[in-house]
Amino acid sequence: MYVLIVGAGKVGWNLARELLDKRHEVTVIENDRDRYLTVEQELEHNVQYGDGSELWVLDRAGVSRADLVIAVTGDDEDNMLICQVSKEKYKVDQVIARVNNPRNKQWFELLGIAPVVSATDLILRLIEHEVPKYGLVHLLDLPRERLEIIELLLGEDSPVAGRRVADLELPDGSLLISVLRDGTGFVPSPDTVLESGDEVLAVLDPGMEDELKAYFGPDGSESG
């Protein structure tokens, strides 16, 4: 199939590579001259220089015979309009848009653009696995989503060592995401039995670190 990608950032470039590997025909449009020249070294004629929200640039790239248009620029307005014009003016069957700011999702919907892909949302969805947790490194704040992700190390004396995840009484607003044990990470199930030495990732509402830390007990670093 013929795929038109607008935006040769990390996402667009790698997408193009993958699709070319799979023997699809691909054109990438990039409007930053320096970026275009960089990407052109590898993608050669498969990348064109121009503002993909302009009609003549889309025309030149053969938008009307595209089976799929993917708008992955860093600008939500651009992505919206590229998809809108592709669908409504050029009758492209399938469009996919990247949402940079999750709060703009409603506007993509208003303009009838689906599906949309938001990296923030994807990470949040991964986080939505049920799980619990505990020695405590603050890894990531997602203030817009009002979430934090922390890492806990289960110490020798951790009260949760030897207990099943399902039996933990985690504070409301917290969830175990993953367990790292002997160098291997996995997503815990309710039947997973936690062990001292486990490194656990948890997602939680802001301000709950202390409560979780108390629940999981002193971590390994404190004991030794």
Partner: protein, 144 residues
């Protein structure tokens, strides 16, 4: 309500206010407020204007600026894409009765006009004026 108080937006805002309308401007640049006051004796607020700092894609900013009671909405930021998107938001989400978008790109202005969006394309106007002038000059040369 006017989004984008640049040279065009701010002049329009003053003239609408002068004609007795309630005018609210939204601009992401706080400095735009100073542009609104060019030629005014008093502050923009003292002459009855409203000014909100914010981005038009933020629904809270639109609401704070009073989009829900707007009779007319003008999108006159310096970005075509922004103008096209927010004009559609004003129409589709807030059902503002009159929505006008300034679009510099003549091709897209034409297409969106066909889709039912009221557009003003200053580039189109400039092209037509230049064509007229140059053709007149050409006619003079031909007549000599």
């Amino acid at each position: 309500m006017i989004v984008g108080a640049g040279r065009v937006g701010s002049s329009l805002a003053r003239s609408m206010l002068r004609d007795g309308h309630a005018v609210s401007c939204l601009d992401e640049d706080p400095e735009a407020h100073a542009r609104l006051e060019i030629g005014l004796e008093k502050s923009w607020e003292d002459v009855g204007g409203q000014f909100t700092v914010g981005t038009a894609l933020e629904i809270e900013a639109l609401q704070e600026a009073g989009i829900e009671r707007a009779d007319a909405f003008v999108a006159s930021t310096d970005g075509d894409n922004t103008n096209i998107v927010i004009a559609q938001i004003a129409m589709g989400r807030f059902e503002v009765p009159t929505v006008i978008a300034r679009i510099l790109d003549p091709y897209r202005a034409e297409w969106y006009e066909q889709q039912g969006l009221h557009t003003i394309c200053p580039t189109r106007v400039a092209i037509e004026m230049l064509e007229t002038e140059v053709k007149e000059a050409a006619a003079k040369v031909a007549a000599q």
